[in-house]
Every structure is written in structure tokens, then in C-alpha cells.
Amino acid sequence: MYAFEIERPASIADAASAMKTDEAQALGGGQTLIPTLKQRLAMPSVLVSLTGIGEMKGVCMSDAGEVCIGGATTHATVAREAAAHYPGLAGLASRIGDPAVRNRGTIGGSLANNDPAACYPAAALGSGATIITNSRSIAADDYFQGMFTTALEEGEIITEVRFPVPEKSHYQKFVQPASRFALVGVFVAKYADGVRVAVTGASEEGVHRWTEAENALSGNFSADAISELSVSADGMISDLHGSPEYRAHLVKVMTGRAVSAAS
């Protein structure tokens, strides 16, 4: 790693000022950033650690009935504390990485990084969540802008994420066993006004919605509803773990399984 300093602010305001330093980089749980730094793929002057900010941690219900999760909340905490409010989301959090990774990794870190195979982007997009930063609110539909690309501005920090709670939901993850990322993951959520289907791990565009499946499932929420649909392999990721055709096939299979398992 190149040398850098670490700041450990105790409030969002202090973190926001620390982020104004030239070449500052926010540090969530570090489960992706630290391996990146070890490979010398990043050279920040200062890391602004967000995990000591009490006001950015925890799970609660808003008056509007949304599950609100602080940006520095770990996956393990979401798995535990969101289970009663939003089981589909808690189930997703409980299968990220491994137990030790879940004790450090944070929802804000995952969403800010927007890895094309990460789990949380599927939950945020599939729920139509709102990403709250230190300066504004961003709808999930506007937030994800392609692989490792988001609507976040330089120095902007995800302080909270708000998830509308669906009637039914489920996340199906086809695990790439070495990395424990999703080879393909599909988050399905059924709301009163329609179904949302978000796909991660598959596309070179990163997380995205499968609108044809959403339309079919909004009329008939059963795996049969998508049986006639097909997913194009165009733009799907190709690597040693799976071809574009394989990933396209998995999208449909995982969607069907998620619908059948939704509760």
C-alpha cells in the first residue's frame, strides 16, 4: 500500500469536511477498499473512516413505513435487525461474503462501490430504495450508472438508505464459490403497485432491472409468468466463471426461483 493518513470522524459533519481534503477517500468496512489499496490500485492521501460515526449506524422504521439503514451499518447488523421488518433484505445481507466479512462490510460501502457482482445494489434497485447522502436524496433508479459508477459526487457520503417494504420479496444468488460474489443474483420484490426485478452479477452495465419480467409478474406473480420470456446474452459479462449465454440463462432461472421462494 502507498502511505496515507486515517481520519476517524465521529459525526457526518466532520466526515464531510475531512472529505474536502485533496485525494480523500471514504472508508466503510474496507472489505473491498483495503484489498484494492494492497494492490496499489488506489492512492488516497487520507482515508476518512466512517465506521466510528454513531449517527450512521443502525436499522429503524420510518413513519412512512420504510426500513432505514445507516450507511455505516454492517451486513451482520442488517441481517439481524432488519429480519423482522424486511426479511428479503435481511436474507440478502446474511449471505454476503462470509461471517467475518459481514462483521466489517457496510451497506454504504457496498452501494458506493457498486461492484457489478455485489448483492446490495440488487436490493436497493429492486426495492426502489432512496439513497440519502450528506447533501441530498437520490432514487435508486437514478443512482446506479453502470459498473463501479454511481450518481455520487466527489466527497459525497452515503449516510442512510431507505427501503420501502414490499408485500413479498426474495433474493436468489448463484454464488461464485471462490469470491462468494454473485455469479448472477436476482432480487424480486412485489409491491402493491407492481413488481420490481433487479439483476446483479450478469451485465456489463452492472445492476439493472429486468422490465419484461416485471411486467409479466405484475399481472401474475408466479414463476409460470416468465416461462415464455428469454434473456438476451448481449452485453452479459464473459469471464472464466461463465459465458454470456450461461449468465443470461441464469437470470431467468434465478428470477423464477426468487418468485417461487418469495414470502
Binding site: A3, F4, L47, N103
Partner: protein
Amino acid sequence: MPTVSMTVNGKAVSGDVEGRTLLVDFLREDLRLTGTHVGCDTSQCGACVVHVNGEAVKACTMFAAEADGAEVGTIEGQANADGSLNVIQQAFQDHHGLQCGFCTPGMVMSAAALLKENPKPSEAEVREYLEGNICRCTGYHNIVKAIMAASGQDVAIAAE
């Protein structure tokens, strides 16, 4: 360089670290607690698992500065006060839960964290919890048996 202070195995310690100093390097190089191993250095293998404020974390993927003020537990703090092996360590010995032993510190620390939150895990839960701990000797059966035994359960079910 900033100074960090923490409690390691019940003892107050402090030291000067760089921002980039990993917790595992602080433990091994500064405190000479070399029981915590570095296997992969990419947070895959789990040989470096320690407890930070009671939770299992990979010490190769956390900065020492982030553990400032924390209570850290390592394999060196696992034995009983009289120096005898604790229940988990003894079970690893009894059930031959190690071959080369390199992964063992991380396995024991993960097992301790598991049994703290789930005192009577099923075999499947043990295997799932050890997802982030790799044994390159592939001695998983006996590791699972040892953890089942340490939880006071029948080890026979782990052998199926």
C-alpha cells in the same frame, strides 16, 4: 505517526502506527503475537481471524488505527487461565482437527465466535459459518467434528 491504544487479550497496549498498518501487522510485528497468521492477505482464507469487540473479523482487512479503543482477542488469549487448552482447542486436539496447523488459529477464533452466538449449531451451520476459513489440508470433517464436540453435541452426525 499516530498512537493507537487497545486492549488485547485483556491487556492494555499501545503503539505508534502508520495509517496503512494493518491490525494483523500490529499484532504480529509490534506486539509479537504471531499466533494470528496471514495466509492469503486478500481476506479469503481466514487464518487471520481475531475478535474485535467480540466479533470475528479478518485482521488482514482492517487497519490498526480502526481498532483504536477496541477490545481485541487473539488465539493467544484463548487458553484457560492456568494455561490449559480451552474447550474448543482441546476438541481440536481430541478430534485431530488440524493437520499442518496453519489455518488453526483462524478456525478456533471463528469457532469461538460461532459458539458464542449459536451455542448448539447444526453441522450445516458450522460448515456455513466456516465459509470464510480455508484449510488447505482439506481437514474440514475433523474441524467440524471438533466444533460439534466443543458445543457438547454428538460428533457422529458430523461424520456422515
